[in-house]
Protein backbone atom coordinates (compact mmCIF):
# COMPACT_ATOMS: atom_id res chain seq x y z
CA UNK A 1 0.00 0.00 0.00
CA UNK A 2 1.26 3.47 -0.81
CA UNK A 3 1.96 5.76 2.10
CA UNK A 4 -1.20 7.77 2.45
CA UNK A 5 -1.69 10.71 4.75
CA UNK A 6 -3.25 9.66 8.01
CA UNK A 7 -6.56 10.62 9.49
CA UNK A 8 -4.64 12.09 12.42
CA UNK A 9 -3.25 14.70 10.07
CA UNK A 10 -6.79 15.45 9.02
CA UNK A 11 -7.95 15.70 12.63
CA UNK A 12 -5.30 18.30 13.35
CA UNK A 13 -6.26 20.32 10.26
CA UNK A 14 -9.89 20.16 11.30
CA UNK A 15 -9.12 21.50 14.79
CA UNK A 16 -7.19 24.36 13.23
CA UNK A 17 -10.04 25.15 10.89
CA UNK A 18 -12.47 25.19 13.80
CA UNK A 19 -10.19 27.54 15.76
CA UNK A 20 -10.01 29.84 12.79
CA UNK A 21 -13.78 29.79 12.42
CA UNK A 22 -14.23 30.79 16.06
CA UNK A 23 -11.81 33.69 15.67
CA UNK A 24 -13.56 34.98 12.57
CA UNK A 25 -17.14 35.71 13.61
CA UNK A 26 -19.08 36.04 10.38
CA UNK A 27 -17.64 36.36 6.92
CA UNK A 28 -19.90 36.79 3.91
CA UNK A 29 -20.18 33.41 2.30
CA UNK A 30 -19.12 33.04 -1.28
CA UNK A 31 -20.41 30.35 -3.59
CA UNK A 32 -18.71 29.47 -6.85
CA UNK A 33 -20.54 27.16 -9.24
CA UNK A 34 -18.83 25.49 -12.20
CA UNK A 35 -20.90 24.14 -15.11
CA UNK A 36 -19.79 20.55 -15.70
CA UNK A 37 -21.98 19.15 -18.42
CA UNK A 38 -20.34 17.21 -21.24
CA UNK A 39 -19.92 20.52 -23.08
CA UNK A 40 -18.29 22.19 -20.09
CA UNK A 41 -15.93 19.29 -19.42
CA UNK A 42 -14.91 19.13 -23.09
CA UNK A 43 -14.25 22.88 -23.03
CA UNK A 44 -11.94 22.62 -20.01
CA UNK A 45 -14.20 22.99 -16.96
CA UNK A 46 -12.13 20.59 -14.87
CA UNK A 47 -9.05 22.78 -15.31
CA UNK A 48 -11.19 25.79 -14.41
CA UNK A 49 -12.33 23.93 -11.30
CA UNK A 50 -8.76 23.00 -10.47
CA UNK A 51 -7.66 26.63 -10.77
CA UNK A 52 -10.46 27.67 -8.40
CA UNK A 53 -9.45 25.05 -5.84
CA UNK A 54 -5.76 25.83 -6.23
CA UNK A 55 -6.41 29.52 -5.62
CA UNK A 56 -8.45 28.73 -2.49
CA UNK A 57 -5.46 26.75 -1.26
CA UNK A 58 -2.71 29.13 -2.35
CA UNK A 59 -4.42 32.31 -1.14
CA UNK A 60 -5.91 30.66 1.94
CA UNK A 61 -9.48 31.69 1.11
CA UNK A 62 -11.80 30.42 3.83
CA UNK A 63 -15.56 30.08 3.55
CA UNK A 64 -15.83 29.56 -0.20
CA UNK A 65 -18.37 26.96 -1.30
CA UNK A 66 -17.60 25.30 -4.60
CA UNK A 67 -20.42 23.59 -6.46
CA UNK A 68 -21.19 22.14 -9.84
CA UNK A 69 -24.08 22.32 -12.18
CA UNK A 70 -24.87 20.69 -15.52
CA UNK A 71 -25.21 22.14 -18.99
CA UNK A 72 -26.86 25.57 -18.90
CA UNK A 73 -27.77 25.64 -22.56
CA UNK A 74 -24.97 28.06 -23.40
CA UNK A 75 -22.43 25.48 -24.56
CA UNK A 76 -20.58 27.94 -26.78
CA UNK A 77 -19.71 30.02 -23.71
CA UNK A 78 -18.23 27.12 -21.70
CA UNK A 79 -16.47 26.86 -19.35
CA UNK A 80 -19.03 28.87 -17.41
CA UNK A 81 -18.83 29.74 -13.72
CA UNK A 82 -21.17 31.64 -11.44
CA UNK A 83 -20.14 33.64 -8.40
CA UNK A 84 -22.55 34.53 -5.62
CA UNK A 85 -21.34 36.56 -2.67
CA UNK A 86 -23.62 37.10 0.30
CA UNK A 87 -26.87 38.64 -0.79
CA UNK A 88 -25.50 40.12 -4.02
CA UNK A 89 -27.01 38.88 -7.30
CA UNK A 90 -25.35 35.96 -9.03
CA UNK A 91 -22.69 36.89 -11.60
CA UNK A 92 -22.16 34.58 -14.59
CA UNK A 93 -18.79 34.41 -16.33
CA UNK A 94 -18.17 32.75 -19.70
CA UNK A 95 -15.17 31.19 -21.46
CA UNK A 96 -13.37 30.98 -18.14
CA UNK A 97 -9.92 29.50 -18.64
CA UNK A 98 -7.84 28.38 -15.68
CA UNK A 99 -6.01 31.70 -15.82
CA UNK A 100 -9.25 33.70 -15.79
CA UNK A 101 -10.67 31.59 -12.98
CA UNK A 102 -7.67 32.49 -10.89
CA UNK A 103 -8.24 36.16 -11.64
CA UNK A 104 -11.96 35.93 -10.79
CA UNK A 105 -11.10 34.22 -7.50
CA UNK A 106 -8.63 36.95 -6.58
CA UNK A 107 -10.56 40.00 -7.78
CA UNK A 108 -14.19 39.03 -7.26
CA UNK A 109 -14.33 36.29 -4.62
CA UNK A 110 -11.49 37.61 -2.46
CA UNK A 111 -11.54 41.29 -3.44
CA UNK A 112 -15.22 41.91 -4.05
CA UNK A 113 -14.78 43.50 -7.48
CA UNK A 114 -16.65 41.96 -10.42
CA UNK A 115 -14.38 41.23 -13.41
CA UNK A 116 -16.77 42.95 -15.78
CA UNK A 117 -15.15 42.12 -19.12
CA UNK A 118 -15.74 38.39 -18.56
CA UNK A 119 -19.35 38.65 -17.45
CA UNK A 120 -22.10 37.11 -19.59
CA UNK A 121 -25.01 39.54 -19.55
CA UNK A 122 -28.12 37.85 -18.15
CA UNK A 123 -31.71 38.96 -18.24
Amino acid sequence: MPAVKSLDDLKRLKEEALEKRKAKATAATAQVTVAMGTCGIAAGARETMRAILDTIEADNLSGVMVKQTGCMGLCEMEPIIQVEIGEAPKVTYGKVSAEMAKRIMKEHVAGGHIVSELVIPTK
Binding site: L13, K14, G37, T38, I41, R50, E57
Partner: protein, 183 residues
Protein backbone atom coordinates in the same frame (compact mmCIF):
# COMPACT_ATOMS: atom_id res chain seq x y z
CA UNK B 1 -12.29 14.96 -24.65
CA UNK B 2 -8.53 14.71 -24.41
CA UNK B 3 -8.19 12.42 -21.41
CA UNK B 4 -9.83 9.27 -20.14
CA UNK B 5 -10.07 10.99 -16.77
CA UNK B 6 -12.32 13.62 -18.35
CA UNK B 7 -14.60 10.88 -19.68
CA UNK B 8 -14.75 9.44 -16.16
CA UNK B 9 -15.75 12.82 -14.81
CA UNK B 10 -18.44 13.13 -17.44
CA UNK B 11 -19.82 9.61 -16.85
CA UNK B 12 -19.79 10.13 -13.08
CA UNK B 13 -21.93 13.23 -13.57
CA UNK B 14 -24.60 10.89 -15.01
CA UNK B 15 -24.55 9.00 -11.70
CA UNK B 16 -25.05 12.27 -9.85
CA UNK B 17 -27.96 13.09 -12.13
CA UNK B 18 -29.43 9.63 -11.41
CA UNK B 19 -29.57 10.50 -7.69
CA UNK B 20 -26.88 8.04 -6.67
CA UNK B 21 -25.89 7.92 -3.00
CA UNK B 22 -22.68 5.99 -3.60
CA UNK B 23 -20.51 6.09 -6.71
CA UNK B 24 -17.54 3.79 -7.28
CA UNK B 25 -14.94 4.69 -9.87
CA UNK B 26 -12.31 2.14 -10.83
CA UNK B 27 -9.40 2.21 -13.24
CA UNK B 28 -7.17 -0.73 -13.94
CA UNK B 29 -4.24 -1.07 -16.32
CA UNK B 30 -2.36 -4.16 -17.39
CA UNK B 31 0.56 -3.34 -19.68
CA UNK B 32 1.46 -7.02 -20.17
CA UNK B 33 -1.99 -8.13 -21.24
CA UNK B 34 -2.30 -4.77 -22.94
CA UNK B 35 -5.61 -3.52 -21.69
CA UNK B 36 -6.97 -0.62 -19.71
CA UNK B 37 -10.37 -0.83 -18.07
CA UNK B 38 -12.39 1.76 -16.30
CA UNK B 39 -15.79 1.62 -14.69
CA UNK B 40 -18.31 3.80 -12.92
CA UNK B 41 -20.85 2.08 -10.71
CA UNK B 42 -23.72 3.75 -8.91
CA UNK B 43 -26.82 3.00 -6.88
CA UNK B 44 -28.90 5.60 -8.67
CA UNK B 45 -32.28 5.14 -10.26
CA UNK B 46 -31.01 2.91 -13.07
CA UNK B 47 -32.42 2.49 -16.56
CA UNK B 48 -34.80 0.03 -18.13
CA UNK B 49 -33.70 -2.26 -20.95
CA UNK B 50 -35.04 0.02 -23.59
CA UNK B 51 -33.09 3.05 -22.35
CA UNK B 52 -29.90 1.00 -21.89
CA UNK B 53 -30.18 -0.20 -25.45
CA UNK B 54 -30.58 3.31 -26.74
CA UNK B 55 -28.30 5.20 -24.37
CA UNK B 56 -25.22 4.96 -26.55
CA UNK B 57 -27.17 6.63 -29.33
CA UNK B 58 -26.16 10.30 -29.50
CA UNK B 59 -29.78 11.32 -29.80
CA UNK B 60 -30.93 9.94 -26.44
CA UNK B 61 -30.75 11.72 -23.11
CA UNK B 62 -32.76 11.82 -19.90
CA UNK B 63 -32.41 15.56 -19.78
CA UNK B 64 -35.41 17.58 -20.86
CA UNK B 65 -33.80 20.96 -21.52
CA UNK B 66 -32.18 19.72 -24.72
CA UNK B 67 -32.62 16.42 -26.45
CA UNK B 68 -29.05 15.39 -27.26
CA UNK B 69 -26.70 13.60 -24.85
CA UNK B 70 -23.15 12.96 -26.03
CA UNK B 71 -21.20 11.69 -23.04
CA UNK B 72 -21.69 7.92 -23.40
CA UNK B 73 -21.55 7.85 -27.23
CA UNK B 74 -18.24 9.74 -27.12
CA UNK B 75 -16.68 7.25 -24.72
CA UNK B 76 -18.08 4.27 -26.65
CA UNK B 77 -16.59 5.59 -29.88
CA UNK B 78 -13.23 6.17 -28.16
CA UNK B 79 -13.16 2.62 -26.73
CA UNK B 80 -14.20 0.96 -29.97
CA UNK B 81 -11.58 2.91 -31.90
CA UNK B 82 -9.01 1.19 -29.64
CA UNK B 83 -10.24 -2.40 -30.09
CA UNK B 84 -12.26 -2.06 -26.90
CA UNK B 85 -15.88 -1.85 -25.89
CA UNK B 86 -18.34 -0.07 -23.68
CA UNK B 87 -20.85 -2.06 -21.67
CA UNK B 88 -23.71 -0.94 -19.47
CA UNK B 89 -25.53 -3.01 -16.88
CA UNK B 90 -28.50 -1.31 -15.37
CA UNK B 91 -31.92 -1.98 -13.90
CA UNK B 92 -34.55 0.44 -12.63
CA UNK B 93 -34.11 0.98 -8.91
CA UNK B 94 -30.87 -0.97 -8.81
CA UNK B 95 -28.32 1.42 -10.25
CA UNK B 96 -25.99 1.37 -13.19
CA UNK B 97 -22.56 0.01 -13.94
CA UNK B 98 -20.71 1.28 -16.97
CA UNK B 99 -17.47 -0.31 -18.05
CA UNK B 100 -15.14 0.60 -20.89
CA UNK B 101 -12.08 -1.27 -22.05
CA UNK B 102 -9.28 -0.11 -24.34
CA UNK B 103 -6.29 -1.76 -25.94
CA UNK B 104 -3.73 -0.01 -23.76
CA UNK B 105 -1.01 0.36 -26.39
CA UNK B 106 -3.37 1.45 -29.15
CA UNK B 107 -2.08 4.53 -30.93
CA UNK B 108 -5.47 6.23 -30.58
CA UNK B 109 -5.86 5.54 -26.89
CA UNK B 110 -6.17 8.79 -25.02
CA UNK B 111 -3.86 9.31 -22.06
CA UNK B 112 -5.37 8.62 -18.65
CA UNK B 113 -4.83 12.24 -17.71
CA UNK B 114 -5.44 13.82 -14.35
CA UNK B 115 -7.27 11.12 -12.38
CA UNK B 116 -6.66 12.89 -9.08
CA UNK B 117 -8.15 16.10 -10.49
CA UNK B 118 -11.25 14.25 -11.66
CA UNK B 119 -11.88 12.64 -8.27
CA UNK B 120 -11.14 15.90 -6.44
CA UNK B 121 -13.63 17.83 -8.61
CA UNK B 122 -16.35 15.27 -7.98
CA UNK B 123 -16.02 14.98 -4.26
CA UNK B 124 -15.73 18.71 -3.67
CA UNK B 125 -18.72 19.50 -5.86
CA UNK B 126 -20.97 16.69 -4.61
CA UNK B 127 -20.10 16.21 -0.92
CA UNK B 128 -23.48 14.59 -0.23
CA UNK B 129 -22.45 11.61 -2.38
CA UNK B 130 -20.22 8.85 -1.05
CA UNK B 131 -17.27 8.59 -3.49
CA UNK B 132 -15.04 5.56 -3.76
CA UNK B 133 -12.10 5.37 -6.10
CA UNK B 134 -9.74 2.54 -6.95
CA UNK B 135 -6.75 2.64 -9.24
CA UNK B 136 -4.77 -0.51 -9.86
CA UNK B 137 -1.85 -1.33 -12.13
CA UNK B 138 0.49 -4.31 -12.06
CA UNK B 139 -0.34 -5.37 -8.55
CA UNK B 140 -0.11 -1.89 -7.03
CA UNK B 141 -3.33 -0.40 -5.82
CA UNK B 142 -4.54 2.92 -4.49
CA UNK B 143 -7.96 3.08 -2.93
CA UNK B 144 -9.70 6.18 -1.73
CA UNK B 145 -12.93 6.43 0.21
CA UNK B 146 -14.16 9.88 1.17
CA UNK B 147 -16.45 8.73 3.96
CA UNK B 148 -13.88 8.53 6.81
CA UNK B 149 -12.72 12.02 5.84
CA UNK B 150 -16.20 13.47 5.87
CA UNK B 151 -17.05 11.68 9.14
CA UNK B 152 -13.98 13.20 10.74
CA UNK B 153 -14.70 16.68 9.40
CA UNK B 154 -18.31 16.91 10.55
CA UNK B 155 -19.54 20.33 9.46
CA UNK B 156 -16.08 21.63 8.53
CA UNK B 157 -16.12 22.32 4.79
CA UNK B 158 -14.06 20.30 2.32
CA UNK B 159 -13.07 23.62 0.74
CA UNK B 160 -11.28 24.92 3.83
CA UNK B 161 -7.86 25.64 2.30
CA UNK B 162 -5.91 23.24 4.53
CA UNK B 163 -8.48 20.43 4.17
CA UNK B 164 -8.53 20.90 0.41
CA UNK B 165 -4.76 20.62 0.41
CA UNK B 166 -4.91 17.43 2.45
CA UNK B 167 -7.36 15.76 0.07
CA UNK B 168 -5.56 16.97 -3.07
CA UNK B 169 -2.23 15.66 -1.81
CA UNK B 170 -3.74 12.34 -0.72
CA UNK B 171 -5.18 11.80 -4.19
CA UNK B 172 -2.11 13.00 -6.09
CA UNK B 173 0.28 10.93 -4.01
CA UNK B 174 -1.92 7.86 -4.25
CA UNK B 175 -2.32 8.03 -8.02
CA UNK B 176 1.35 8.93 -8.40
CA UNK B 177 2.49 5.98 -6.31
CA UNK B 178 0.65 3.53 -8.56
CA UNK B 179 2.10 5.13 -11.66
CA UNK B 180 5.71 5.28 -10.49
CA UNK B 181 5.79 1.79 -9.00
CA UNK B 182 4.28 0.11 -12.03
CA UNK B 183 5.83 1.45 -15.19
Amino acid sequence: MRELALHLLDIAENSVAANAKTVKIAVEEDPKKDWLKMSVEDDGRGMDEDLVARVTDPFVTSRTTRKVGLGIPLLKAAAEACNGYLRINSAPGRGTRLEAEFQRSHIDRMPLGDLAGTVLSLLIAWPQIHWMFRYRANGTEFTFDDEPIKDELGDVSLTEPSILGYIRETLQEGVGSVQTSSF
